[in-house]
């Protein structure tokens, strides 16, 4: 992802397709994106592939702050993608996700 001025922004259908407290994966342009809907409110988008060993982040458990990869339990901040679980794991890209009147809109720019 380079050119931020022509960032891909996609309308992905109703927000309700993501159950509250879970995440689901979508394709935004060529980018696999996991969108999370914590119980505490808001929407967050991260690249869907865990930087550790490729785990599916959309399948992870989450709380208001972080998502936990189901493969080896590394944790990433929903807001920034920062890895907060130690070891030498890279951060994951964070994107912007919005609820536009019940519709999910994701753009490949930093939130």
């Amino acid at each position: 992802m380079t050119a931020s001025d022509e960032a891909v922004s996609v309308r992905l259908g109703p927000v309700d397709q993501i159950p509250v407290g879970e995440g689901r994966a979508f394709l935004v342009g060529d980018e696999p994106v996991a969108v999370f809907r914590p119980r505490s409110g808001g929407l967050h988008a991260l690249r869907a592939i865990c930087p550790h060993r490729g785990g599916p982040l959309a399948d992870g458990l989450l709380d208001g702050e972080v998502v936990m990869c189901p493969l080896h339990n590394h944790r990433f901040e929903l807001a920034s993608g920062a890895c907060v679980s130690g070891g030498d794991v890279d951060d994951v890209a964070a994107y912007s996700a919005d609820d536009d009147d019940g519709e999910l809109v994701v753009s490949l720019v930093a939130p």
Binding site: P19, E22, R24, A48, G55, P56, A58, D63
Partner: protein, 856 residues
């Protein structure tokens, strides 16, 4: 096989100012040396080429015994898939070389060094020039000469194994399934580890050792005796002071061994761990000075050639050859300092050896001398054979010069420090081993110098851990997570705990969070259950709202709470799918590539032609990449993408086997009275009835059971959470708290009962008590010793607390509330429940394996 990885951009246009560094050997020492060189900016100074004759990236040899011990659990039996991760074995995957601009010739053996032309020659005909050469050729198993050992000049007789490389471990794994009895020749550290690993696979294991002292490299006679009796308690057979004269071969494969006294022992597998020999052939033919190993000076250079450095098990420094990691780490650092010029005067002065390890589950620590050497040496000895504890310290002129600890190594931090720093010792020597009421335990860890390496697998120092605490980490596990300390072989966990607790502030180090049932709610299990009951909290979010600080939800607490609530409110628990781990959301076990494994229930391991045909049809129709028998006697369909799960279940028309949950898993059975000529009880019937009754019951951790029809114990009942054995007179013995995974523990006898029905009843009552009282993720092998066997017998068998009827009733409720999740979730429970979570990745990603077991 030869694989060339990395960049070869130098081929056409060599840059004149970059020197050529060649490393021969990519095992632990070669890799460590490389890493040290890279951290000192070596990549900018050198073009680096590495030769390794094992066709893998280098791997962590410390973990080899875990491969063997745990493959019974993790690698082979997917039902045990927590714990060991095969990827962790590889220190550096082959990509790592490429990423660092290193050219790796895996699978090429260097056969000669031409020191005048400064080139190395490979067995593939290649000639590679060097300016600086590092030899890290390591060592290999020594095979004592005896008849029957070799099938040809290069191949061992089928059934004979060394235990040094990943190939060795894998070959053994391939062989254990069909084997019953193994003989391990050589009772040193590696031998005992191999023995324990094989025992975990259910083999009868005999250890043959030429002296009376097991692990005589590290231990003196007293310590060894204690270790020996512990191992014998675990069922290992010891043949000490005996030599093997011949390996007996029938039809081209091992059939037994013969001892020098002429007696024979039948076996179908022999593992040779009779010591190691440094690989010095290359150095010898190339004219370098070798004695037991390649002789080096204090800069780690060959004494004959300033451009050739040597590191690890093939180096002999001041007469010593080291075979453990600690010294190797120190040598690699010195070598890198000198080679890169970071510190041209760096010097290695030899290592004082401190060994800490777990031998077949028994803690052992040893440092310095084993026994007093002079009249004037003080010798303090403590032995409590009943508990399997043995400790000695040896003091010369007021300084600690040696210590041995077996069974209880709680004092190792204080002793290591006294040993390393040669510091003053207490007047009363016995204080070295006992606190004698002074309660000053954490002082010792606090006094360790900051650069003391605590975790040898991941190279974490005391300073790193203390830094973590200063950065705000408040718990031992937080520090372990942040530094990865304790995440290799795990033997340093006790020491990590001491260091962190000391850093957290002496007496204040008591970590209240340790008693919490889940990290996000500051209550232990009884208090938490009390609150849940009195406030009638029936969903995970309700628990967080009512009991968590500021009502905050916590990702690490959700699974534990979900399990607890389902246990407490079997009927009216409010199901919130986001409180479940992915496995429990889709009722299948997630694999490394994001696909899932599907294991249908096959109670007691009994199936039918019709079921097998259906499974085969499903496997064909859905192109299942691997079909595998599990250790729990059922069939695992691996590599199913999430969106196909419902279809696969529907086509199978079989119920879920719950191979994914913290729940009742399987009952392994033997044939029992139906067919077996030794059977004393109908073990198959009992196993099926127990499985049908308790199927899918959730708990704090998984529960694996077994029923054996006679004391030959073919279903391995003694190493199960609940294991039942038929004994003469129509009675059943019930064992609890056994394990044979990452931990090995023989179960304790809870009760001997007179009937099938009673066996079912007591099993259920024990499981219910465990569900209600065990901590989250606490397996029965920890739970049973924590509660105490006598106490459990009192509560569960003798009903001294008068709660037996309630326990039975609550278990009955759980049984009544059972629904097969595969049938229930044929309708999606939440939107997108079975949608793929990685839309771009073609699945499955794990290579398909041919049924012969040959890697694809």
């Amino acid at each position: 096989m030869t694989a060339t990885l990395g960049t070869e951009q130098e081929a056409g246009t060599p840059e004149p100012d970059r020197a050529k560094l060649v490393v021969v050997g990519n095992g632990m020492s070669g890799a460590r040396a490389l890493e040290e060189i890279l951290t000192r900016g070596g990549a900018d100074r050198f073009d680096i080429t590495v030769f390794g004759d094992e066709p893998y990236g280098n791997y962590n040899r410390i973990l080899l015994s875990e491969v063997l011990a745990n493959a019974a659990g993790a690698a082979v039996d997917n039902e045990d898939a927590d714990g060991w991760d095969p990827d962790e074995l590889f220190l550096n995957p082959t990509d790592w070389y490429a990423e660092n601009g290193i050219t790796l010739h895996a699978g090429v053996r260097i056969v000669r060094i031409d020191r005048h032309a400064k080139v190395v020659m490979g067995d593939d005909g290649s000639v590679t020039p060097y300016d600086t050469l590092v030899l890290a050729t390591g060592s290999r198993s020594f095979f004592p000469p005896m008849d029957g050992m070799w099938a040809s000049k290069t191949d061992l007789t089928p059934g004979v194994f060394g235990f040094r490389s990943l190939d060795d471990a894998n070959a053994m794994l391939d062989h254990v399934a069909g084997a019953r009895t193994a003989v391990v020749i050589g009772g040193g550290l590696l031998g005992l580890e191999a023995a324990a690993g094989l025992q975990a696979h259910g083999l009868a294991v005999h250890v043959v050792h030429p002296t009376e002292v097991l692990m005589n490299q590290q231990l003196e006679a007293g310590a060894s005796k204690v270790l020996r009796s512990k191992l014998e308690d675990m069922g290992m057979h010891m043949h000490l002071g005996v030599k093997t004269s011949e390996i007996l071969v029938t039809d081209g494969a091992v059939s037994g061994v013969r001892f020098t006294d002429g007696s024979d022992l039948d076996c179908d597998m022999v593992v040779v761990t009779a010591g190691i020999r440094p690989n010095i052939g290359l150095a010898m033919v190339s004219g370098l000075e070798t004695q037991r190993a390649i002789v080096v000076d204090d800069r780690m250079r060959s004494v004959d050639d300033d451009d050739i450095f040597v590191v690890g098990e093939c180096a002999q420094h001041r007469g010593e050859v080291y075979g453990v990691v600690g010294p190797l780490w120190e040598q690699a650092a010195v070598l890198a300092d000198v080679i890169t010029g970071a510190d041209p005067d760096a010097a290695y002065h030899g290592s004082r050896l401190t060994t800490k390890l777990k031998v077949a589950g028994v803690d052992v620590a040893q440092m310095g001398v084993k026994t007093p050497e002079r009249e004037s040496d003080e010798f303090v000895q403590f032995s409590e054979t009943g508990r399997g504890v043995y400790q000695t310290v040896i003091i010369r002129d007021g300084t600690l010069i040696g210590a041995t600890l077996v069974g209880d190594v709680s004092k190792v931090a204080a002793l290591t420090q006294a040993f390393d720093s040669r510091s003053a010792l207490p007047e009363e020597r016995v204080k070295l081993l006992f606190d004698l009421g002074s309660a000053d335990d954490s002082a010792s860890a606090a006094d360790l110098p900051d650069d003391t390496q605590i975790c040898n697998c991941n190279g974490v120092s005391k300073g790193d851990l203390v830094g973590c605490v200063h950065d705000g980490a408040e718990t031992v596990s937080a520090c372990m997570d942040a530094t990865r300390a304790g995440k290799g072989c795990g033997s340093c966990k006790g020491l990590v705990r001491e260091v962190v607790e000391a850093a957290l502030g002496g007496a204040g180090a008591e970590d209240p969070a340790e008693s919490y049932y889940v990290p996000g709610i500051p209550l232990d299990k009884p208090a938490l259950m009390q609150e849940i009951r009195s406030q009638e909290l029936k969903s995970v979010s309700a628990v967080f709202a009512a009991l968590a600080p500021e009502g905050r939800d916590d990702v690490a607490s959700k699974m534990g709470l979900t399990a607890l609530l389902r246990m407490m409110w079997p009927e009216d628990y409010v199901d919130e799918r986001d409180g479940r781990f992915i496995n429990d959301r889709v009722h299948a076990n997630i694999q490394r590539d994001g696909t899932f494994s599907v294991v249908p229930r096959m109670s007691g391991g009994v199936t039918s032609p019709d079921q097998l045909r259906r499974i085969a049809d499903v496997a064909d129709k859905h192109e299942i990449p691997m079909v595998k028998l599990t250790g729990g006697q059922r069939i695992d369909l691996l590599g199913v993408p999430k969106e196909k799960l419902q279809e696969v279940w529907a086509d199978l028309e079989m119920p879920s086997g719950w191979a994914y949950g913290k729940s009742f898993r399987t009952v392994k059975t033997c044939v029992g009275t139906d067919f077996c000529r030794f059977g004393l009880g109908d073990s198959t019937r009992l196993g099926i009835d127990i499985e049908e009754r308790f199927k899918g019951i959730e708990g704090p951790a998984k529960m694996k059971l077994a029923v054996s029809g006679c004391p030959r114990n073919c279903a391995e009942s003694m190493v199960k959470d609940v294991g039942i054995v038929a004994v003469e007179g129509g009675r059943w013995q019930i064992y609890v708290g056994g394990a044979a995974g990452a931990t090995i523990r023989k179960g304790d006898i809870l009760a001997t009962v007179d009937s099938h029905d009673e066996a079912v009843l007591i099993t259920g009552r024990f499981l219910q008590y465990y569900r209600e009282h065990a901590n989250w993720l606490e397996r029965t092998y920890d739970f049973v010793p924590r509660m105490g066997l006598d106490y459990l017998i009192g509560v569960i068998v003798d009903d001294v607390e008068g709660i037996a009827a309630e326990l039975d009733e609550r278990m009955q409720e759980a049984v009544d509330a059972y629904v097969d999740p595969w049938a229930a979730d044929q309708q999606e429970a939440t939107p997108g429940q079975f949608h793929d979570a990685l839309p771009l990745i073609p699945l499955p990603q794990v290579p398909v394996r041919a049924s012969e077991g040959a890697p694809a």
